[in-house]
Symmetry: C2
Subunit: 285 residues, 2 copies
């Protein structure tokens, strides 16, 4: 039985380049022709909004970068950390592949690069694309890469609602841009039947107006009408909004692109203004 | 149709007391007899380890508290923030209910209190117990309460592994202290069948030696032998360890109380040293 791969060290230490194990020993023309890459790519989660819920590692990664890339609203969200000595490269929604390639190329060229996302870059964020892009490079062209975790939207929303994610939950995206709706709905049904609390990302946008209504109807086949539901929009920003309702009364028009919808399970109660899920499955219901 | 409850403001603002909506208008003897409570309870997630992955809001909440309560290892984890001007109240694992009551009582008595957890206090943490304890008090005895989110173990582990949680995942605890094992296993089966990536909390301890092995065998009924698995122990601490393996070769003895086990789905690939889940369900497999 092969020994599992093992790394040790601090979370803040740069991990070895992506793919070094898999690609070790394979010959590639570029391996001989060029000096090893010295650039560094940090894929950074900025958390939900302003500086309060940003980590020190995220702050330091943005401050120390020579080049910062991201969707323009995310660059604005860390404008307190950047300055004229840095190259800022804003881009649009939909340009994720190009943004990942630009970030990797800049690091490959030897720069310290920060690729920023809101929330956690590893959850419906840029980390998957950026790591895949790096792994496609020959070994000698790969920069050091690290992922800096951030407070993800589900956690930020849950904290404002109370403690709805206290025991066993799932995060699902309702976006069908990258998935057939049938696959999304199958996952919704499985999670509802298993009585997991649900955090729904990307519940609604102008281009996707009907998915949340459909999801509500699917969930209502499994859960009672009075199941507590919380909608949190723009967590951590000035425009932050927290709405409490029930599954039967969930109005999809109240959700937008920056809303997370949390749907309780059997163990979730509304205690005044809070949604709280019991830690125990033994508890009386 | 009743208007859903609505709150607005910054995440850092103290929300209204728990239960104010539910209990408004109900008479209670204490409501007349005593002055309103001025204490504040912050339920704080410290993140996975040292200061690097702690948020500014968590740091400020601990620094500003007059009394800090927590499991003794979590008090040690924020010792850089506390000082002799504060009352530190350490307690043992298993004393969660007492700790919640002590924290709420201190806030009810008028103090600024921080109740600290590692990771996120709302995910398998103290927030559920503390909020339930506050909600049981008569309205006039309730302190202000807020939950300060933290980087949870699943996110911290995922960042070290690459981007395994990039699309649709579930967090389950394998602890059967607060649940019958049959319920845990039913959830495992549902999540495995739905092809969600899994983050397993509390996979193993001295008192619970067999659950991870059993979970592995259950998951192997649904997923191929070569499904990528990552084990992250002590994320963000000096003793941090990252191990990569497969479902068939997962050795439960390698996990401990501070390990998170991430089990990939169909879209998860091993790219060198990283586990990466594709953002798209359309991608070729």
């Amino acid at each position: 039985m092969p020994e599992p791969a093992l790394r040790s060290g601090l979370l803040t230490r740069l991990p070895p380049p992506v793919g070094i194990r898999q690609h070790r020993g394979t010959a590639h023309p570029d391996d001989q022709a060029q000096a090893p890459v010295t650039g560094e790519l940090s894929i950074v989660g900025l958390g939900p909004g302003g500086p309060a819920h940003r980590t020190q590692a995220a702050r330091d990664a943005v401050r120390d970068a020579q080049i910062v890339l991201g969707y323009h609203a995310y660059l604005a969200a860390c404008a307190d950390l950047t300055g004229p000595h840095q190259d800022l490269v804003p881009s649009e929604i939909g340009a994720e592949q190009q943004r990942a390639e630009d970030a990797v190329r800049a690091a490959t060229d030897g720069s310290r690069v920060a690729l920023v996302s809101s929330g956690d870059a590893g959850i419906y964020g840029m980390a998957s694309l950026a790591l895949t892009t790096v792994a496609a490079l020959p070994l000698a062209r790969r920069p050091s890469v690290r992922v800096v975790p951030g407070i993800t939207a589900a956690t930020a929303a849950a904290a404002l609602l109370g403690a709805p994610l206290a025991r066993d939950f799932a995060c699902l995206t309702l976006s069908d841009l990258l998935a057939p709706w049938e696959a999304v709905e199958a996952r919704l049904r499985a999670v509802a039947a298993a009585d997991l609390v649900l955090a729904l990302y990307n519940p609604r946008s102008r281009g996707r107006p009907w998915q949340l209504r459909r999801a509500r109807d699917v969930l209502a086949e499994y859960r009672p009408d009075d199941t507590p539901v919380g909608l949190v929009t723009d967590a951590g920003r000035d425009s932050e909004r927290v709405q409490l309702t029930t599954l039967a009364e969930l109005d999809p028009d109240r959700a937008g692109m920056h809303t997370v919808v949390i749907v309780g399970g059997e163990g979730t109660s509304r205690l005044g203004d809070w949604l709280v899920t019991a830690r125990s499955l033994h508890a009386p219901r």
